[in-house]
Symmetry: C2
């Protein structure tokens, strides 16, 4: 994770290429103190909003191209795919990230799932059951707006399960994610880090605009009052479940344009590393051409 | 359906507002002759590509706004939603339409499903089973790339089911779609109409570009040879299944920019007619504000 603000990309649209995955990654197995990370920092990012928006839009073409190659490769048996897991407090911008970042991709190849409070049917299954049913298929970009981590976050804060059962879930999650990686899934887990002051501003904005009242739930204020407990639950999850196979990244999210830039950039780096290739056709091109022109 | 080219929107980005749903709609119950419709026509559309692309992009903000209101209304119990059904011959641009038109929306609220050859499990169920499992939820925009119509198209051309069973399917489809409409689903069925010459050009383009070979299947040439049989199957489906509740629209699709404009416009007209509203909050705004500021 970036402990201080990185270079601000003075070069305009073409700053030196950061290694954002290295910079924002949570080193697992060590205690995490989220208070040490400024939610309004801009690690390695563009220096201002205008540059940030331009830089994010500028990634669109390459992202869509990589996505097409990933999908194309899957038609020839490549099982690789990407799963973006988004977590964060209310108003941290999970929905906005899906809209602005996934909007850069071809929607056909994206499998988006928002997890709400579990249904009765879901509660009758192991907590990973509903997750497994929503996974991206080979060649796809999957996006989880909330995820199996709720089962160690809200479940911990509200003591929804006995302590021992909760404690076992971290290992279950790690083994589950390991199995995903072995099956070709690149798991990119992003914690959208906002400050309580920023949340207050965003909730007030919703109250001030009647067109946004549908997004507001007075129960959100009860959850807000539990901020320290949630922060602690996140710190434990980040410590125990940031693994080499499936690392957690902390993205400062007080500024929406930085958040979108950083998540886009993390996906870009991941897709570049996968370097998917168009498969070769296994048919006779000239014969097909002759048939078409006949 | 438009039998001749409509006004070409000389006013640039702001042509007179067409009623495209009326213009492109197939009057059901009468024989349909697709040969009478030019696949390169531009009914009521912008006059050229540059204007067309600008006009389509220009609809984005209103489309996304209407989508947000539709979704917002669903959180207060409004069950309305939209289902766009895309059908057309190979290379008619179903995938491209999803990419360019649905790209104008918020991907979170879109439920996209491409139907391929049925799996063994799907074949063990009634043909509408897999369709019902893929329907949009209230507030969503659903998109089907191919659909239950394959069961009266490829099924007819290749005689996959006995003739009597095939004949019953048209009525089954109409009753099914009627039930969707009664449950709040606006069903928008679009036939992307291309000419065989345009298909030849597009298939040749794929052959000429090794990066597109993955999209090419020599079996597509066998299907192409059945063009007249497919046209007949489409004509029968359009005649029997264009209903007041769930009409078919024929969109000339030889020009991709017109296709994207027309499908965007059909969705815009449909969403405007729905006129979804933000629900009112049922909480005490001032009390919540006071709690936040405490």
């Amino acid at each position: 994770m970036a402990k201080k603000r990185g270079k601000s990309g003075k070069g305009g649209k073409k700053p030196a290429e950061p290694d954002l995955r290295r910079l924002l990654r949570v080193p697992g197995g060590k205690p995490v103190d989220l208070a040490a990370f400024a939610a309004d920092a801009l690690p390695a990012g563009p220096g201002n909003k205008a540059e940030g928006l331009a830089a994010t839009a500028g990634m669109g073409e390459e992202l869509a191209g990589l996505q097409e190659r990933l999908y194309a490769a899957s038609t020839a048996g490549d099982r690789r795919r990407v799963l973006l897991v988004l977590q964060g407090m209310d108003t941290s911008g999970k929905g906005g990230t899906v809209k602005h970042v996934i909007g850069l991709f071809n929607p056909s190849g994206c499998r988006i799932r928002a997890f709400k409070a579990p249904t009765r049917e879901e509660l009758n299954h192991p907590f990973l059951w509903r997750i497994m049913r929503a996974l991206p298929q080979p060649g796809e970009i999957g996006i989880f707006d909330r995820s199996h981590y709720e089962d160690v976050l809200i479940a911990r804060v509200h003591e929804l399960v006995p302590h021992r059962r909760l404690g076992r879930r971290y290992g279950q999650i790690n083994r589950f994610e390991q199995s995903l990686v072995e099956d070709g899934v690149s798991v990119v887990k992003v914690f959208l880090h906002i400050s309580p002051e920023q949340q207050r501003r965003r909730l007030l904005e919703r109250l001030d605009n009647p067109d946004k009242h549908w997004k507001f739930n007075p129960g959100d204020l009860d959850e807000r009052a539990l901020w320290p407990a949630y922060r602690k639950a996140y710190e434990i999850a980040l410590e125990r479940c940031s693994t080499d196979e499936a690392p957690w990244y902390v993205v400062p999210a007080d500024r929406k344009w930085y958040r979108d830039w950083a998540v886009s950039r993390l996906l870009l780096e991941q897709l570049r590393a996968l370097d998917p290739r168009y498969p070769k056709g296994d048919f006779d091109v000239e014969e097909c051409r002759a048939r078409l022109l006949a």
